[in-house]
Symmetry: C2
Amino acid sequence: MNRDDVVARDAADPLTPLRELFALPEGTIYLDGNSLGALPRATAGRVAEVVTEEWGRGLIESWNTADWIGLPQRVGDKVARLVGAGPGEVVVADSTSLNVYKVLASALSIAASDAPERRIVVSERSNFPTDLYIASSLCRDRGYELVLVDSPEEIEGLLDRAAVLMLTEVNYRTGYLHDMAAVTARAHEHGVLAVWDLCHSAGAVPVDLGGADADFAVGCGYKFLNGGPGSPAFLWVNPRHVDRFEQPLSGWMGHAAPFEMSPGYRPAEGVSRYLSGTPGIIGISALECGVDTLLAAEAYGGLEAIREKSLALTRLFADLVASRLPGFTIESPLDDAQRGSQLSLSVDEGAYAIVQALIERGVIGDFRAGSIASGSASAGSPDILRFGVTPLYTRYVDVWDAVDHLVSVMDNDEWRDERFWTRGAVT
Amino acid sequence: MNRDDVVARDAADPLTPLRELFALPEGTIYLDGNSLGALPRATAGRVAEVVTEEWGRGLIESWNTADWIGLPQRVGDKVARLVGAGPGEVVVADSTSLNVYKVLASALSIAASDAPERRIVVSERSNFPTDLYIASSLCRDRGYELVLVDSPEEIEGLLDRAAVLMLTEVNYRTGYLHDMAAVTARAHEHGVLAVWDLCHSAGAVPVDLGGADADFAVGCGYKFLNGGPGSPAFLWVNPRHVDRFEQPLSGWMGHAAPFEMSPGYRPAEGVSRYLSGTPGIIGISALECGVDTLLAAEAYGGLEAIREKSLALTRLFADLVASRLPGFTIESPLDDAQRGSQLSLSVDEGAYAIVQALIERGVIGDFRAGSIASGSASAGSPDILRFGVTPLYTRYVDVWDAVDHLVSVMDNDEWRDERFWTRGAVT
């Protein structure tokens, strides 16, 4: 296999036309769409329209005339198509952290009512930290214990005592992909509610919340949904739960009739009660453009085609690393069924500097620290070089060239240059 | 007094040059900046830069290179200058509703520790509903009673039992302005914490949180701060409280070291612990442009000059209504010391249709329903026509012309046309 073979794969790839939907900087190989998705070409124009026309000219009337008031549900319905949910089941709102708070609070309310003797919430120590911080807060306030496991195999033994199992479908460090349907089924067999974080899976792997019969889910707008930095997040509630409880962040936009201005809260029917304050119109509008890039893929095979290419990209990456970079260890599962849309590597020393040296060469991946402190989420784990693939715009040749650059960084000892060792605020 | 006199007042007004900072639609008299501030001219360009350059070209590196990571504090420091707070005391984050949740939760934690026998939270029935919904939720979860008063005079008698007094400085319906310093002092004399909502005062009246020695405050970005629809909100915590407790929405951005990715939450020092999830970069950047319009006024007399003009505008409005529209009642306080930056009117019938007829004439105010249901926040109150004045762009002639249009709407019975009686989703 040589570079020409890889270029030929891109030429034959049915998803290739979709790359044109993105404004990618020249000379950059962007392998960090799992952290911040690239800019869709449509976004700048749409955001300008929202700012200049809808806000600037339409002013307050745009709540009606531009249907700003319906935006969280309208974009939510589009997201629903990517995660196996039905119309009216998803809203876009707030951040992932806040949405975890809402859905976990609801799950705990249900558990307290249906199975009050169950007093633990189970999650993984390697879960994305914000999920754990929010869960800790809720568990403390409601008298639950948050029990963190170090491997998926430990979960089973805890289910008989658990109220809620809260997992992220694709691990942010390793890309490990849970079998949502199987895990949810096991949880339900033991009477446990399953809350899923889709931050690293929505838009990257086919998600079937309805098919898996999950209970609650949240997800991120700025990773594979390409919604922009700090984009609003989304949440889903299984229809069988949605009208059972109020969520505690009961702001006016979740009220059944916000403009009645009643002093008493009466929750909206359905998932709209999971709205809280006034929605960020510019941010949700940008997110809609990002979601549209994924819906555009429906004409090219949709998420099944995206998944197939994603696995082919990470497999190519893994094969090239195995053959050309013997000093690196692949930290992502090699089994396709267990691998999300990223490849994570480790190396004996210098992971941070290697990532920086790659960035100087125009190859953007990122670094995630290993066990820098006892009690770290990654205790016992090495520092990680993360490379995400986004099949809408990542080409096979990008993977080839990225590995080429990595070989050069190592062969030339470029990473030893001291300018690559200074940490930024965000690493 | 005739229209020429009013035009002459605009010519002599020192704030007149600031109107050029806004992109106002031709032919519109915009008197709804208390609901959604107008678009600053700088915003479209700045938002385009954030989208195209920082996100599109800078991609993930902009967290460091464009200092996205410091944006909530940087813009918070600018907001601080408008509300009498010091640097490092304010962050921009989330929505007003969510920020009420954070600061009220903290206030209740402090009260539970310092005065556990106090079990009520006092607010006004006429407070903006979302504050009451959030307070109800927290009170229910923590075993407090939310007691709502119907007039400010009833507050005093409750203070000996109260843990927290939660008020909005300027009432959204009537524009009634509390004396923050005096009310806070009375609260403190009785051992009660004072939480202030500045949604209708920040940027419109001089606020002095430090001088008043308030305990906590939140405020809106999209009203007088001109941050755009659904703009992020802000919050302030008195430095004597800020490190005492964690707030419950403890997302990763409020962690002392978010990129350590530790599974255990360790709150950041100071007000940064009131951040939760990933900040919405586009929204905060737009808000910064809006806040900058107010900081630009510092060269023209600042908030003192804005306040003086605001009172002159609403006084002119009130005088014209009194002399030309005898069927209308002024619902805002006529005492300057008690009036925010709006004039609210009521009329025997047709308030909604009158507002719509004015909108068709290019005069944008808004409607707030009165007691449409028993238990309504405005029980016993009439339907309201609200007209906000924003001295940065509202001219004396706008007030004159608005009243002229209102006279025409009434004299011609225009409001009786049935097309003005159909309610929009947002009224």
